[in-house]
Assembly symmetry: D3
Homo-oligomer: 331 residues x 6
Amino acid sequence: MMAKFEPSKEVLSGETADVYFHRTLDILSREKLNPQAVMEVFPCRDGILCGIEEVTALLQKVLPVIESGIWALEEGAAMSRKEVVLRIAAPYQSYGLYETAICGMLSPASGWASAARECVQASAGIPVVSFGARHVHPSVAAVMDYAAVIGGCQGCSTTLGAKLAGIQPSGTMPHALMLVMGDTVAASVAFDKYMATDIARVSLVDTFKDEVEESLRVAQALGKKLSAVRLDTPRERGGVTVELVKELRAKLDLAGFSHVGIFVSGGFDAAKIRLFVEQQAPVSGFGVGSYITATPPIDFTADLHEVAGKPVAKRGRLPGITPNPRLNRVM
Amino acid sequence: MMAKFEPSKEVLSGETADVYFHRTLDILSREKLNPQAVMEVFPCRDGILCGIEEVTALLQKVLPVIESGIWALEEGAAMSRKEVVLRIAAPYQSYGLYETAICGMLSPASGWASAARECVQASAGIPVVSFGARHVHPSVAAVMDYAAVIGGCQGCSTTLGAKLAGIQPSGTMPHALMLVMGDTVAASVAFDKYMATDIARVSLVDTFKDEVEESLRVAQALGKKLSAVRLDTPRERGGVTVELVKELRAKLDLAGFSHVGIFVSGGFDAAKIRLFVEQQAPVSGFGVGSYITATPPIDFTADLHEVAGKPVAKRGRLPGITPNPRLNRVM
Amino acid sequence: MMAKFEPSKEVLSGETADVYFHRTLDILSREKLNPQAVMEVFPCRDGILCGIEEVTALLQKVLPVIESGIWALEEGAAMSRKEVVLRIAAPYQSYGLYETAICGMLSPASGWASAARECVQASAGIPVVSFGARHVHPSVAAVMDYAAVIGGCQGCSTTLGAKLAGIQPSGTMPHALMLVMGDTVAASVAFDKYMATDIARVSLVDTFKDEVEESLRVAQALGKKLSAVRLDTPRERGGVTVELVKELRAKLDLAGFSHVGIFVSGGFDAAKIRLFVEQQAPVSGFGVGSYITATPPIDFTADLHEVAGKPVAKRGRLPGITPNPRLNRVM
Amino acid sequence: MMAKFEPSKEVLSGETADVYFHRTLDILSREKLNPQAVMEVFPCRDGILCGIEEVTALLQKVLPVIESGIWALEEGAAMSRKEVVLRIAAPYQSYGLYETAICGMLSPASGWASAARECVQASAGIPVVSFGARHVHPSVAAVMDYAAVIGGCQGCSTTLGAKLAGIQPSGTMPHALMLVMGDTVAASVAFDKYMATDIARVSLVDTFKDEVEESLRVAQALGKKLSAVRLDTPRERGGVTVELVKELRAKLDLAGFSHVGIFVSGGFDAAKIRLFVEQQAPVSGFGVGSYITATPPIDFTADLHEVAGKPVAKRGRLPGITPNPRLNRVM
Amino acid sequence: MMAKFEPSKEVLSGETADVYFHRTLDILSREKLNPQAVMEVFPCRDGILCGIEEVTALLQKVLPVIESGIWALEEGAAMSRKEVVLRIAAPYQSYGLYETAICGMLSPASGWASAARECVQASAGIPVVSFGARHVHPSVAAVMDYAAVIGGCQGCSTTLGAKLAGIQPSGTMPHALMLVMGDTVAASVAFDKYMATDIARVSLVDTFKDEVEESLRVAQALGKKLSAVRLDTPRERGGVTVELVKELRAKLDLAGFSHVGIFVSGGFDAAKIRLFVEQQAPVSGFGVGSYITATPPIDFTADLHEVAGKPVAKRGRLPGITPNPRLNRVM
Amino acid sequence: MMAKFEPSKEVLSGETADVYFHRTLDILSREKLNPQAVMEVFPCRDGILCGIEEVTALLQKVLPVIESGIWALEEGAAMSRKEVVLRIAAPYQSYGLYETAICGMLSPASGWASAARECVQASAGIPVVSFGARHVHPSVAAVMDYAAVIGGCQGCSTTLGAKLAGIQPSGTMPHALMLVMGDTVAASVAFDKYMATDIARVSLVDTFKDEVEESLRVAQALGKKLSAVRLDTPRERGGVTVELVKELRAKLDLAGFSHVGIFVSGGFDAAKIRLFVEQQAPVSGFGVGSYITATPPIDFTADLHEVAGKPVAKRGRLPGITPNPRLNRVM
């Protein structure tokens, strides 16, 4: 797993760091001050830790082999507000420049993983798939998908994210395919004709016609090959409701298509998933996008607690190393 | 400006796209379907548009020179919920793969720019500086800082973000410098000794002692060279309050240091800035971090409205091109 | 108009009166007490007065021709909380038994009329039709429809209610017709074939298929003869929304059916009507049912204020006749 | 019991039906379409079922003896939201016209019965009497009183309602009797003189004097014959409070009138009854009016679920017969 | 006016001071430190200043005639939160011991005066009388009544309070008088028989009978000599309501007693007075008790701002004299 | 204990009584009416009874030795709303004048004691000290401190209050001492030099410098003699927070001053004390001021229940003696 994350040259050069760290390093270097220093990092609220592998990969690249130590919780671990999740002990100049990157790798990834975890806990075993790539910048789409999988999602939609997470990407059909081809059945038949057999046939059924009618048409066309239909009914048309899923299930069953699953997407968050599970909507999978991507970063703070062997702290913090038996030494 | 953004190879290859667009392109290509198609992109809520230059740079790279058109609002323009901010007319296969990236470039950047705009509107002319790099992944730190400047921030803390925005990076001193050097005055004197003269001397005064006492000590040490002090008092010590700023101002003035400004940071959002302005706190600058970075993306939606010259739309949307006289043709 | 209401024999015999009025009349008669008495009637909240014609018809039947007087506001008048809307001066034994019926004729009718008035005020000139007969007991369905018309409704659904209100009944098609005939187009064609030409062709389009698709099918079948379509989409399918109406309008227009109106029903109340009007949903009529029928009666109170020429009042009330220049003598 | 309800000629002729059912029957008859059809009826919220006997009486009159079936819950049964309470299987033309009446007989009666049940449950065994006749139209006063008794009321005030419910009507004295006779004691003595001995002597004591003083005067005049006093103190005078009842009880007892009960009325609803019971107010009976009559109808919906042996349903509903083992066949 | 307040020996000896002031004076005296010091006193919220005359009387007794200055707002002045209402300049040892007493004289008195002012502003010219003596300790009853008069009350109930305020005490009759004499009319006649003619005859009419009946009885007994009746109906009997006052007024007028005023008491606060005034209740006077006495003290803070001619301040305050042009020199 | 309270001459003469009691006594005396009368006193809400000893001292002075009885709950007892806490049986003229004083002695004292009790219950054994003398009039400062001790406070700040409560007064140092001496360490050393050894050395550390820095300076100066430091940080500087206390504790311990306690004051109420205890802030004492003094009086009502052996009551109350087995005869 360790090879997975490779620090970019912008991170290594500090171009994405707060500029005052450059200045600090410059001053300390001219003053020939490079004490052994212990930095601790903690989150501002409870959640799932994510990004620690990327941070470790960075630190292992920059810290001197001797004189250094890294202690951390594991990727995906539950963490508490103000709990120390990472401790670095090394000469300050070796890592001072990376405080911005360390916090930045942890904050959004932990936010996304925590949101994904909420959805997965609500879904009671029904698969949740990360569909949020379109809501984040492409430069972090893969990290977001990776974090969603760390949080418990069973799939994600980007190729790069899936690769980072060690899984295959998931996808059905976009509305664009339907609109370009002009008919849902035609698009579904073409999908079936060209796609490799290990890709599930999941047809999107809300583009042109009533969802139930369209589902029956597609099911008649693809028969046993149809794995599932996807409901993504827009809010303007009432969105996806428990009642719609139940009605579709009943009418598919009545027509002999009990093997066809119902995958739902569009505005799902932990609360809506919970509602669907509580009301026993017969769903085979949930696609979740903006709930994960709209979750704010879990901000992390990095504090020096020991300099040259002496406990220190800025006002408002406690000096000295904070004990946390959950930390493991990773370097 | 156009040269500023260069699409990455992961974006161009579609590795960060939703996988179903790969499949769609594959199907359409085998079916030899490549109609002229018009796609429109709109936001889910009001805000400031940001990312459109990056999107345009991508499209200009991938669209065929003839047969294509791009119409867009300008970077930094105010936009309304559901207003079309981008229209693309081109053969579908030339851009279908980039729907994920197009939305992904616009969504978070517009969210960040909109949050920055709120702060800038609240600050009534007092400079606002983007300090949020540590809350976003390093891969997007520069884009975030750029968006904050598009939203109206006068400065930002990362070198790369400042470069993208065409300005110089801003920074004072981190607590780490104080803790490593062990004394605020010593650190301030060293800063002054080594830094280029065009970098403002702004000393951080809440690390060890009472902020007022420390400010007076630093002011005595640096005299006229001291540009400002920065208050970043942690929440555990009451945070930065209007009263603290007024008290510091009064005591600096009483001691003859009227030339020293007061820069504040730590938990500032639009509401807190508004409060400081209303209560006439004598502030010379606001540092804003997590308010900008915690603002959720403004999700964008991309819809096909015309295929091969015919108005189309999925259920819930209106077929045909949506008139918007504010759009400018950019290609 | 006066002949319109005919008191039933149960009302005249007092079988529907509170039994203590029977006993009171029995006692007073044995005591030979039949003083001239003035009774005043007022509502417990603001609203539209309805039922006063039915009350007047009853009183004119039972009061002695000489010695009696009735003063009242007009049917449909706006009235204020505690305003006297009816004053009766007559020998007490001639009308004491009817206190229950007088209040009972005014209370629910005024409640219904007031609710209808709210809808009509919200609809800004777009017709509102009373569809609530199924929510009230058949014995009062006609009175309810009459009250809705007094409140401003342009139509109502029951034959007897329409007769009472002096108009023609309104109706489109029930879901049952569709389900029995099995197809919306077939049902619409049959309706057109058999119904008199002065009955508008309004087809119900949400039974089997997507509303837009069904509307286009019916419009193609009936052409210029189709007056309107009715949307009654159930809550399970998202209900009738502004967006659905706009989408249907756009797609009807695109297909050349601009002459076809859109009539909406299902869960409409004053607030939802106001929303549709504010958001400029292109609606040609609103069907309102349970909002009118679920409005509680406006309770009326009847008090004796003068007995044998002397001002009287129970504790909590003011003795003597309450002046109200708005009252007209109707007998 | 079956003979109790007799459908009126307006109901049988369909004059109170929604007019589109006339038209539907006309069309189907001309098309010679009269399939066997199954209709199911369910309420929109939880409550007590009332009106089902009246509905059954209607259906038994109109359905063909062979080919027909009726399944229903019992009058007074508790029912759940969306539970099927009535199923009709018969040729559609035999009952299609009565959909409006069927729902209309069930909706308000079930609302009234449910409200009465709440009061009775709150009263913990103390009798509750229906006093709401003056708040409903005389045409349904008896049905309302009947529904209140089905809900659990021990008495009701109208003669016709009591007859329908198989009990004797209840009543005390109206304020009008006091005001006409001019003195509470005089009125009470006259009541006692003329009324049959099986009618309880319950004197209304808030018309002229302090309630306690008046109660003692009446008790002295009637002695052991006085069954109870009624408190109906108007809101302007503070209404009937727990403290007033306790004070009256204490002062009646102190004067030796422990046999005289205290009956209360005026603004009582389930919450106020519960408060009186919890605070142990020594009440012998509660009169309830507008709480029952202001409760909105429990709207019922009638859906076709099978036509000519085939499961059907409109969009939003599940096709086929809905199993409900609680239903009993009543025809 | 200056002679009015005489500091008690406990105040002068410091027995009621916080003990640490004794210790402070002891230390300073042994250290021979007695610098000229300026103390400023300000309230924690807006209100009416009261107690400043008592404070001034104390300071004039203890400050040295030379070297001292007192600046203050006037008794009864409106003051703002944090506004300096008192400035003392004198050798610190002369007044340091009295900081507790100075704040203590101002805090509750200003609270009471402010509450009284609110009632008086609400009453729109109708007299308000302070009836709260029973809710405060007898040692401060007179000060409370004085403060209420400073706040605008037209009368107060204690002899000592009235004396302090320079007015005559106000009072009607207590329930105890009625209960001992056993009849309201008898008590009223006795009152009239023995009391000096300059004391208004105001009879309390809610002890035994209905208030209206009792008022009429008393009015018949005392005729033109009856000045007013007082309503103090307890909450258990509905309290004093606008409707009760209007009913009493109407029935007094009907009986020819238009000259008899209606004085009300019992639970009146600014909001209830405002309601009575808005609804035009014909009241001749309001008695207010616990609203004034339950108002918390307006806490005052005393800070040293100059010592030996140098601006000083503790952390959180601004050093040096705070300009306030509203202050007048009183010594 | 009985000798503790001595009624003042103003109370005995009735100068602080409501004037209508003077008049009542005058009337009854001229009418020669002096029946044996039983008065009962009860509070308007739950709380801690305080002031009953002062009331008893008054009554024992004025009641005739024979024919009189007093029954009461004990000082400091918990009492319920409307519970009789005092019953007096004696000739009415002997105590009628003192109704105002009796209620006035109980009302504020019980309010203060109840508020103190809430703080003491919240503090879970950590001492609470009454610091509110500056918020009440000096005439009642001692009574307030006494009530706070009755409520459970372990100390109070006034000499006279402490004497009444039978304890020693408590105090640390005021900000004024610091400001006059100009340095916290100098003031602390002087305090230590002059004060008796049985007075604890508690230094106030928030006047000039950061609280932690100042605490360490004072601890170094006084060493083992320093008992505690007091934090009274003003709201403008963030107030006293749990985090500040923990930080100070950690840094004192780190520097070897584990024996120095932390006493806190400034805005503490029951809720804030509970928070500190729940979050395990290492506090050695709480100073509470305005929470106790701002608590409104618990109003008491005195009612006659028996006159000349006969049960009586005004309207709204129950006649006759109210049984309460908790009452003890005290005379």
